[in-house]
């Protein structure tokens, strides 16, 4: 048996654990964490996405295990990015018995509204090990500029 460090940081405030519990429960109802819509038609599945913003670019990471390049369709119209694709089920044979099914197959679609500041021509996509990484640069005129000021 391992010793586990007692996590209550504030020994004089034993109720702080309740605060933490309350925060965790509130997090479950946090609307901003869940995607509002997944496109016009609700599909079976909506892949998990991260969107990161840096000073230079936007990076979109999407979990797409088992998706082949030819079955993935990306399109950018204005600043609306649509990820569309389908995953083929492994060939079924009559004798196949499925004991447990957690993975999905079929089609999916996800539409993302990107900020106006993107440069649509600079989009780069890479699919590797079931991970889709998209990079979109920001337009030159919206990048933060540093203007050095000389002190006389």
């Amino acid at each position: 048996m391992d010793l586990i460090k007692w996590k209550n940081n504030d020994i004089f405030d034993p109720l702080s654990e309740f605060d933490r519990l309350q925060q965790e429960i509130n997090k479950l109802f946090d609307i901003e964490r869940t995607p509002l819509n997944t496109g016009l038609f609700e599909r079976k599945f909506s892949p998990a996405i991260d969107i990161l913003e840096t000073e230079e670019e936007f990076k979109i990471i999407c979990d797409l295990p088992g998706i082949e390049e030819k079955n993935l369709d990306l399109s950018l119209a204005g600043n609306v990015l649509t990820l569309k694709g389908s995953k083929e089920e492994a060939k079924e044979s009559k004798e196949r018995k499925v004991y447990r099914r957690e993975t999905w197959s079929g089609s999916f679609q996800r539409t993302l509204s990107l900020p106006e500041t993107i440069d649509p021509d600079s989009i780069q996509a890479e699919l590797k090990n079931g991970l889709l990484i998209l990079r979109i640069k920001k337009r030159e005129d919206v990048k933060p500029k540093q203007i050095p000021i000389k002190i006389k």
Partner: protein, 118 residues
């Protein structure tokens, strides 16, 4: 023990899996997006089959606008029973999906018995 040694203080996820049986083989498919075949450790210890996929998430610069993907390593342990031939386990990794093929022992495979006419 194996579990503790491998993962230390790392966050671990259980990969989504589909298990099916087809023609004397048990096929386990596990979704592990972002895992290369070199990141995988598959071990059999006794009747435990350990599958561990190490996924290093680099500290990203910038801030997240949307963050839905969970980070962490993939870890799953299966207990194999006597019907599985432990010497004949194959694994392949393709596009973030690990496929394990477990061969059943000859003695438990369904057999057809011919009826002779006397």
């Amino acid at each position: 023990m194996e579990r503790k040694r491998l993962t230390k203080d790392r966050n671990c996820l259980v990969p989504l899996s589909t298990i099916s049986e087809d023609q004397g083989k048990v096929i386990v498919q596990m979704e592990m997006p972002g895992i290369d075949k070199d990141d995988l450790t598959i071990k059999i210890e006794g009747d435990q089959l350990n599958i561990y996929g190490k996924r290093d998430t680099p500290e990203e610069k910038g801030h997240y606008i949307i963050r839905e993907r969970s980070t962490g390593d993939f870890l799953k342990t299966y207990t194999l029973d006597d019907t599985v031939d432990k010497e004949k386990i194959e694994a392949s990794m393709d596009k973030g999906i690990l496929t394990l093929t477990l061969n059943l022992k000859e003695s438990v495979k369904p057999r057809k018995i011919q009826v002779k006419t006397g």
